[in-house]
Symmetry: C2
Subunit: 666 residues, 2 copies
């Protein structure tokens, strides 16, 4: 048993609440904690097989080869859990999507998309025959699939995709073709060297008409030899900021023929003679998009929990500067500027998780309504998922970077695991809908809602528009969480109103509606962001009020401190909005600032306990700076010694280049 | 001659000003442009020798070996320039420090610190005999040096360094020792496998007394065999977010003896009998710190110029979304949200360069006063360099990330060169003084200035404190650059005042001064930031007024648009401060917002011309997205094909792991 760093031990001793109680609350209930721990035991049971030279010292090619070796071991464990009935396609997220998956295959996996996109696409878009034909083979990993939508020249605007699938009734086949360089598929995970099948999204042509984008199952490599099939051009797209183990690929088609039955036909169909049969539920696909975006919010919470665990523990161990002459150097966690950098991330883990849980439940409720044919709440839910994905990814990226910078130079070491975590988080700002585009989609919904406010019934999450615009809703500012929520509601409402008025003015002066929208878009993005802040903060607060009914008094106190911190931090961040749109005074602002500094002080003694409660095992944290025992400096040195450069006393280049150069011979 | 992308050609055709004129203005004058181009020609003349598999596909060890191979070629060119008298130690920055150096050895060089720190340290801290002994050998690269200050457990707080140098009069030697793991030197560039000498900063002990930190020249490896000398423990620290070609190392001493004459003795000395002779100019070292920090600001400008060039050209080539039905997809540069992301970076290149130039000139003027014994302006200059380094690095990191994210998924590709650029820029937020610590140093100066305002003469850069606090200075808000500058002055002054009052209140309620300072430190950081914004914005404006006297009317218009953009952007960013401390009204704010949107629109047609004027050759830009000809998609595919994974049809892991796994055998 290794000795735990003395400072960390003291921190844990003085924690005022029961850490285990908070862990249970984070997991949901005790059974869920036990289930999670069992999954972790299974998935981490092969750690010895995995251990070698750390990935960061390998070449790009070696990283891929190692990712395949490790993925096969890990997905072998998944297959065993499947066989034992411990996991179904419904809860794959627990296994590969969440914290666990992202840590055992730290920089992604070439098999991830098979589980996350390929199987779900067949499940959601395929008909029963297609399910019967493809799912068993996919479920058993007899085939490995990818999902190809984005093209080299086309991303977020999917109507612009160029790949074509043209139906040929004479052979009852689709002909897949890439007419240009920009039409090459670009980004699909596992596409480079791994997958032998793929879902391809392409423009469907039949009987001379284009019917927009549809999905097709395409075999890309021979099952026996793995050699690309004729007409298929496939490879990997090269090195990236992160996700380098994912084997993202490109894919081009030179008139590749596939059977008619390879079009996913649950919704729209192409009959044998080429007749196109339209989908009766064209909006159902929105459901899948909402689903994926909620999953992303949970991912963000997982990454952020890691980052704050690392930064908090490191800050408790690291000592620097004498606060007072003659005293020993102090723990950097005692600096208020350091608390300011880190604690907001801890609070945000809870705020975002709780909001995502709520959205997840709403999503499931609405899904049942959808099946029953009631699509009323779909636009609202879609707007919500858009802004929540955008705000949670952008905020998390900022929080993680704050944590990394809070660890100074050591945060710059890959062995801290903070740079990689940032790389994975910032990717989410772009994939599954670029954040600015998503916020503008939310803005469109909000503007529409505003314009119909007097004539239509408002759906729950925008109900506050009416209240906030009613006379007397907000006469006097209040320095409290509820006051801040009301203030944020007024801000969001007034921002939407201002956008509408600005666009009206611009249209009146002769601008086209589209140009007026574009010219106002910076403000529209800001309005959607403000709306999202209302949702997160009010959900966080309301749910904590509920949760606190059954927690111990000690934990209750801490939970409300986190809500306070979160609301005060964001009130101060968005102060210009509050000053513009509410009656907040200069005195209120300086009180808010003091309250913020005070809550940092209150949370300080529990900081280590708060991150311990996220209960992230060292094998999953994979950080020299963040491990439970706090042996920061020992681990930094141990990791450095794993560098292959340190395995030899003198590197060959000394004799080959350096010495001749120093002697003036080169 | 490759065809230039049609969209880019059109952009250049409609540019309203003479691009060459702006390039000359950026360089300083025409002769400087010619000199720069000549240096580029020399340094880029060996490009063919350098070309191979891109660095991002190599292993960590291969990256090092390649860095040595390339550095020897490149520093061979430097040596030739030295021999031809084209460069001296005074202008090494032009050769290795600036844009050129950072692009030919893109991720840093193991020989960089030899030039940037080792030689200057000997020059500045060594006496004449030491100059004669060491400089010729260093200048000719007969020895290669590093600079070791930071330790595993000690960074910004250098008084806390643990390495000891104890004088032994019996042998007239210093004994260097690392008493703990945390005392190991950590980070010195080139230290891992490259350098054979090193400047070591250690606590000097003689006659039983500690005299604080001093610098020593230490040989670490044998000149012939390169084997570490007895008692030396040396190696590299491992993989990092960036700078992986720098070969950062660790260094420990087990009672290593060096001659007394290896202590750098220009200032303090240890005599043969062990008598310590104090330096007469203990503050002179501040000068070197100021110098290094100004150099960092110039580095930031170089990196940012690259990032905005890449993002702007890509945004002109990339088409996405139909703004109006039936029209072709539009250039994403036409989206106002995109302009909002990128144009501020273009303006900031000029604002930061101009401010750094001014500080550079001031620094040289003050240096002469220093030599003459006048230290009056040193605290001011030090405070200025601290905040300017902090704000310029933090801002640039944010601008570069905006540029990267503005390029969507393609910005995530390493071949865009944006991720690496971010990695290099964000490192500067930590090295040479961590940003938060630096801002607190500036804050300390500002607080002191405020407290002495009525009794002491204010130095030039804080003169505005008095004006801004005088009655009637700011009765009516003005929506103009001058109005914003005055507003920022009031904000900075009032923030410092508020901090002082808050700390007084806290001290009055029984807090120690140190605790009151700490508890107020978030606000102190913000006050120092506000002061820095005053300096940058006012310097930018005043210098452009001067420059515009001799430019063409067309360029003058554009320069003032950049000043407008920069001031409007930051006024809106810092709106809460303006609302709190000035008389700005709601109407003024909405006018500011409209003015901001308007200046984006005005700059739009000149965006490509503005980045072309930075005149960065493709070989230095090294970006698939940013090259002059705009062949974005072709280059992305060409770079992808350089991945060694794409050199083979089927990777070995298919047969070894994947196929057995798919067949259920693994």
């Amino acid at each position: 048993m290794v000795k735990v760093n003395e400072d960390l031990r003291k921190e844990r001793d003085r924690c005022t609440f029961n850490i285990q109680e908070l862990t249970t609350l984070v997991d949901g209930d005790l059974q869920k904690t036990l289930d999670r721990k069992e999954r972790e035991n299974v998935m981490l049971s092969k750690q010895d097989v995995l251990k070698k030279v750390p990935d960061e010292y390998l070449s790009h090619k070696e990283k891929y080869e190692n990712a395949i070796r490790e993925s096969v071991i890990l997905f072998g464990l998944v297959r065993r859990m499947q066989e034992e009935g411990k996991t179904t396609i419904d809860n794959y997220r627990d296994v590969v999507g969440g914290l666990l998956g992202s840590s055992t295959t730290r920089d992604g996996s070439p098999l991830g998309l098979h589980y996350i996109m390929f199987m779900p696409a067949i499940l959601n878009q395929g008909n029963e025959e297609q399910h019967a034909k493809w799912l068993p083979r996919a479920w058993n990993f007899n085939i490995i699939g990818s999902y190809a939508q984005t093209e080299l020249g086309h991303g977020t605007f999917i109507r612009g995709l160029e790949t074509t699938a043209t139906y040929d009734p004479s052979t009852q086949e689709f002909v897949l073709h890439s007419p240009t360089l920009t039409s090459y598929k670009w980004w699909p995970g596992g596409m480079g060297q791994t997958a032998n099948y793929c879902i391809v999204v392409a423009q469907l042509y039949t009987k001379g008409h284009c019917h927009g984008i549809h999905s097709f199952i395409v075999q890309v490599r021979d099952e026996e030899t793995h050699i690309p099939l004729p007409g298929i051009k496939v490879g990997e797209i090269g090195a990236k900021l992160g996700l380098n183990a994912v084997n993202n690929g490109f894919l081009g088609f030179d008139n590749v023929r596939i059977p008619r039955t390879h079009m996913l036909m649950k919704h729209a169909q192409v009959l044998e003679d080429g007749t196109y049969v339209k989908s009766r539920h064209s909006k159902l696909n929105y459901g899948a998009m909402v689903f994926v975006r909620v999953v992303i919010v949970f991912d963000m919470v997982n990454y952020l929990s890691k980052a704050v665990t690392i930064a908090t523990r490191f800050s408790a161990v690291r000592r620097q500067c004498q606060m007072k002459a003659g005293e020993p150097e102090c723990q950097i966690l005692d600096f208020v500027t350091q608390q300011h950098k880190i604690f907001i991330g801890i609070a945000a883990c809870h705020a975002l998780r709780i909001t995502a849980n709520k959205l997840w439940d709403t999503f499931h409720a609405v899904s049942e309504e959808l099946v029953a044919g009631n699509l009323n709440r779909l636009p609202e839910l879609h707007a919500l998922a858009c802004c929540l994905k955008a705000v949670s990814t952008a905020d998390t990226a900022a929080y993680v970077e704050r944590c990394r910078l809070a660890c100074g130079g050591h945060g710059y070491m890959l062995s801290s695991n903070l740079p990689l975590t940032y790389g994975l988080v910032t990717a989410a700002c772009t994939y599954e809908g670029e954040n600015t585009v998503l916020l503008l989609q939310t803005a469109r919904f909000l503007v529409k809602t505003w314009q119909q406010m007097d004539t239509a019934n408002l759906t729950p999450t925008v109900m506050y528009f009416k209240e906030a615009s009613s006379k007397g809703f907000y006469d006097k500012w209040q320095n409290s969480v509820e006051g801040i929520i009301r203030g944020f509601q007024v801000v969001a409402m007034r921002k939407v109103e201002t956008c509408v008025e600005t666009m009206k003015g611009r249209a009146a002066s002769g601008m086209s509606l589209e140009d007026a929208w574009n010219q106002t878009s910076v403000q529209l993005v800001s309005a959607a962001d403000a709306h999202c802040r209302v949702i997160i903060l009010s959900t966080f607060y309301e749910e904590v009020v509920e949760l606190a009914k059954t927690t111990s008094p000690e934990l209750k106190t801490v939970l409300f401190q986190l809500v306070d911190l979160y609301s005060l931090y964001w009130a101060l961040e968005k102060l210009s909005d509050l000053l513009l749109y509410t009656s907040i005074s200069q005195k209120d602002v300086s009180d808010l600032q003091a309250m913020y500094e005070d809550v940092l002080r209150k949370l300080r003694p529990n900081a280590v306990g708060l991150v311990d409660a996220f209960d992230i095992r060292d094998e999953m944290l994979q950080s020299t700076l963040g491990s439970y025992d706090g042996r920061v400096y020992e681990r930094l040195m141990e990791e450095a010694m794993k560098s292959p450069l340190n395995a030899e006393t003198v590197n060959d280049t000394f004799h080959k280049y350096l010495k001749p150069f120093m002697q003036g011979k080169l």
